[in-house]
């Protein structure tokens, strides 16, 4: 074959290949790429305490262009059930999952992490003090400490002889235990004594009558459910005049602060828990060499009179979504 013919055939072939590539790219662009799917599994998913978290997730999903599935769960979520739900999500095409770790779920989550990226929220299970999974959470111990400091502030920095009660969920996760630890460490140093600690029973319900508990000067509610329960007790004067301090992130919690049933509210930035956890997970899916990292979100101490400041209104806004 002559040199000219060879060059002609090669040129035509190269141009034909380019035409095919451009045509395929055009079709690809028209069809649009498949969005990454992210599933979120938390206990009692319909509870208002997740409003800000869900809003954060939704905003991050829009910003990162991923498809978000918020799995509906009941109040009581077991490890087995959580595992089954995660598997269902994976079967339905989830590329990554965001999970609220349950006590005893560490091994299951570590196994799961080998299949797909897993991001934890609330706290990271630790083994020998080291966490193998990334987590977005507030500083739980710090929040417990901050709650105690608010109590100290109201008592002139001295809790000598003060009797305290603690409310927390019986299925309390490590997060709540850390808060308790932070709270107890601080109040004990200040001379107060924890005279009772009430957890929800096996049914997840709070005791109907709190007047049976010894009279306490202050009650600390260390999670949102406990705080709403404490708020309700306080409103109906079941706590025998004890002032309530608590950690919460629902409108109910804010409502009890607004009505004066709760003295001080520590609010973790749940919006950012949702936003950052999803952003981290989406980044790992989008970028080949990106690995999710632990993120710690902030928290805010709110008093009744500060509830409607501009900054706190935004916290209420995220809770109200």
């Amino acid at each position: 074959m002559k040199k000219g013919s060879k060059i002609f055939i090669i040129t035509e072939a190269v141009l034909a290949v380019l035409v095919c590539l451009v045509a395929i790219t055009m079709l690809w662009e028209r069809r649009g790429r498949n969005l990454d799917q992210l599933s979120v599994i938390v206990a009692d998913s319909d509870d208002t305490q997740w409003s800000a978290f869900k809003y954060g997730l939704r905003m991050a999903a829009e910003d990162n262009g991923v498809e978000l599935f918020f799995v509906s769960t009941g109040e009581e979520l077991t490890v087995e059930e959580q595992q089954r739900l995660i598997q269902t999500e994976i079967d339905n095409g989830a590329d990554s999952v965001i999970v609220q770790p349950l006590p005893g779920a560490e091994e299951m989550l570590l196994k799961l992490e080998r299949k797909l990226p897993v991001m934890l929220i609330g706290y990271a299970p630790e083994e020998d003090g080291v966490s193998d999974l990334p987590a977005v959470a507030p500083d739980n111990y710090g929040m417990g400490t901050a709650l105690a400091e608010e109590l100290l502030e109201d008592n002139g920095g001295n809790l000598e002889g003060k009797k305290l009660g603690i409310l927390l969920e019986s299925t309390a996760s490590q997060a709540v235990l850390d808060r308790k630890q932070g709270f107890q460490d601080t109040v004990k140093k200040a001379g107060a004594s924890v005279i009772w600690s009430v957890e929800t029973g096996a049914s997840g319900e709070w005791p109907a009558d709190m007047t049976a508990q010894p009279e306490a000067d202050c009650v600390a509610a260390l999670d949102d459910a406990s705080l709403t329960a404490a708020g309700a007790y306080s409103s109906s004067n079941d706590l025998q005049g004890a002032r309530v301090y608590g950690i919460g992130h629902s409108t109910e919690a804010a409502y009890y602060l607004d009505t004066g049933a709760v003295e001080c509210l520590i609010v973790p930035d749940e919006f950012n828990v949702g936003y950052q956890s999803l952003t981290e997970a989406a980044s790992q899916l989008r970028e080949l060499f990106y690995r999710m990292r632990d993120r710690t979100v902030s928290y805010t101490a709110i008093r009744q009179e500060e509830l409607f400041t501009k900054e706190n209104q935004e916290i209420l806004f995220t809770m109200s979504q």
Binding site: E12, V22, M26, R30, M59, T251, E314, F317
Partner: protein
């Protein structure tokens, strides 16, 4: 060096063939046209697309602005209705039921967009509200912005930025995000007129719904609403902004008048469309990042690239067909000419366009003419040479034979038998060399032998009335020479030189080599010639032959020059009464069979080797 290399690379790239030149030229032209066309089309299409995008965004914003305005107008109408139809006409204490009913009617008619309607007196006490709900304990109404604004500027209605409604406790443990429309009103309570504030709390979700409806693009384009100070009322990423995750230049944009602006914010270029909502001073802002504008033109870009590639494929095909069609006849003609030059005798290609056919015909005719002429020239040359040789040799032989035989006759008649025998033997030698097996080129040794024999015969004939001396350098014996060139010289020396000199005549034959040239000379001490006569000898117009063979020096000169070239031949030097010397100059060509054949075939011995005599003569 580098530049030379580049130049040589460019030289190498330069197309050498006509076909490649045509293809290269067509390719350059077509690629340039396609690129220019593609770029112009792309710029035009993308400009149109961007303008259309900006225009549609502007129209969408206008519609949304109108909807927002309608919404806000309806809120103002509610406020007006509450004020003029309810508050102004009734005493709040005396006719509270009637007021409540009317407010309830107003609320129910607009409950989709309303959160609440409330009337406060100048102390901030709630006078009436709809829907009926428990007021919170000490909500601090007079400290709230909407109340303060209404009291500060009583003549106006005031729209607040979105905020949590902090007035009522409806028992749902919920907080409502509202925009407050407040105005100072004149109340009548228990017959006493006093100032108050009418508050219409609009449900923020009505506005966010409107804005969400237009914030559906996933290409980075978005719309937000801010007040005249740039405070965000609605933004699709409101919390991200307040958390500092992203930022928005709403404060700067709030100062712009309605229109389209090209702005750069945080290194990102974007088009910003501003639309002011009347009465409130709110700004509806559409943000079109340049990336979003380009995203709309990506398909156009691909489409134009596709068109260009398809055009390139077509043009490559057309280029090749056209180039082949133009160049093919020329290449065929060129090939046939090349074959002709290589010595073959092909048919010259005649085809293609009329010009090329004409060219082919011309070349064919030229070649035919050249062939004919060449054959004719060669034939003529051969004929000429042959006839010259034949003529010269025929001139020599009869003269000499006549003279020799005459001498032998005299000897026999005079009974000088020994001399006759010697004469005959010399004649035999002479003829042997003369014939030389038909060769025209012999060695100088043979030519000298021939001359010796000739002179021996002549000496007998002239009874030794002159003497002959042969002074030959033996080195010249082995060179080539044309046969029978010395004999005419000797004959002339005898006849015009020494004859009649009474025993004092002398003929001297010398031979030597000088700078690659052999010089054979025949000198006599005879009567000599004048310079004028000498110059005529070699032109053939000299004195008439009184003796001899009749073969003149002209013939000898011609024969030498035919074989060896014009630079060789005879030279004559003569002085009256002193004698004449005739010299033969020939190249020193060693006498070998090969050289002899070459010379006899008519090849001239030159510096660069042998040349065709015909060509040489033609050039001469």
């Amino acid at each position: 060096m580098g530049r030379d290399k580049k130049l040589s690379c460019l030289e190498r790239l330069r197309p050498s063939g006509i076909q490649s030149t045509i293809i290269a030229a067509f390719t350059v032209i077509s690629v340039s046209i396609m690129l220019i066309l593609g770029i112009v089309l792309y710029i035009r299409f993308s400009t149109i697309s961007r303008e259309a995008m900006v225009q549609s965004t502007g129209m969408l914003m206008e519609q949304t602005g109108e909807t927002l305005e309608d919404y806000l107008v309806s809120m103002r109408q509610i406020s007006d209705a509450a004020y003029y139809n309810v508050i102004k006409e009734n005493d709040l204490s005396a006719r509270d039921q009637e007021i409540q009913t009317k407010m309830n009617l107003l609320y129910e008619a607009n409950r989709d967009n309303l959160q609440s309607i409330a009337i406060y007196n100048d102390y901030g006490s709630l006078m009436a509200a709809e829907p009926v709900a428990a007021q919170k304990e000490a909500p601090g109404v007079v400290e709230q912005d909407w109340y303060k604004q209404a009291m500060e500027e009583m003549e106006n209605m005031h729209f607040s930025t979105p905020h949590i409604q902090n007035l009522f406790d409806d028992g749902t443990h919920r907080y409502y995000w509202v925009i407050s429309l407040s105005r100072a009103v004149e109340l009548t309570d228990n017959g006493v007129s006093q100032l108050g504030v009418l508050l219409v709390d609009m449900d923020y979700s009505a506005i966010s719904r409107m804005m969400n409806q237009i914030n559906t693009a996933d290409n980075g384009q978005y719309y937000y609403l801010c007040d005249s100070k740039g405070e965000i009322i609605y933004h699709p990423q409101q919390i991200q902004i307040s958390d500092g995750i992203i930022s928005e230049d709403s404060e700067a944009v709030a100062k712009y008048k309605d229109g389209v602006y090209d702005l750069t914010f945080q290194g990102e270029q974007r088009k910003v469309i501003v639309n002011t909502i009347s009465y409130t001073g709110w700004k509806l802002v559409g943000v079109l990042p340049y990336d979003a504008l380009s995203a709309g033109t990506i398909n156009i870009r691909y489409f134009i690239i596709l068109i260009i590639l398809l055009m390139a494929m077509m043009l490559a095909l057309i280029n090749r067909v056209v180039a082949l069609r133009i160049s093919s006849p020329i290449l065929k003609l060129n090939d046939s000419v090349k074959e002709y030059e290589a010595g073959e005798t092909p048919e010259i290609y005649i085809g293609g366009s009329s010009e090329i056919r004409h060219l082919g015909l011309s070349i064919q005719n030229s070649y035919e003419q050249i062939d004919t002429l060449m054959k004719k020239i060669v034939l003529e040359q051969n004929e000429r040479r042959k006839s010259e040789f034949e003529a010269l040799q025929s001139q020599i032989n009869p003269h000499f034979l006549y003279n020799a035989l005459e001498s032998i006759t005299w000897m026999v008649e005079g009974e000088r038998n020994d001399e006759a025998v010697f004469m005959i033997s010399q004649l035999a030698k002479l003829f042997r060399i003369s014939l030389s097996k038909g060769r025209t080129v012999i060695s100088i040794r043979d030519e000298l032998q021939h001359a010796q024999s000739y002179m021996n015969i002549q000496m007998i004939r002239y009874k030794n009335t002159f003497s002959v001396v042969f002074d030959i350098d033996p080195a010249v014996y082995s060179y080539c020479i044309v046969k029978l060139v010395l004999q005419p010289l000797l004959e002339n020396a005898i006849n015009y030189g020494v004859e009649g000199m009474d025993d004092s005549g002398e003929i001297r034959v010398t031979g030597r080599e000088e700078n690659g040239t052999v010089l054979l000379s025949v000198s006599d001490n005879g009567f000599g010639m004048s310079e004028e006569q000498g110059s005529l000898v070699l032109t053939g117009r000299s004195r008439s032959h009184k003796h001899g063979s009749g073969v003149g020096l002209v013939n000898v000169n011609n024969r030498i020059q035919i074989l060896f070239g014009k630079e060789y031949g005879l030279q004559i030097k003569s002085e009256p009464d002193e004698g004449t010397t005739v010299s033969i100059r020939v190249p020193a060509i060693p006498y070998t069979e090969e050289n002899r054949k070459l010379l006899e075939q008519g090849r001239i011995w030159g510096r660069e080797g042998t040349q065709d005599t015909g060509t040489q003569e033609k050039q001469g």
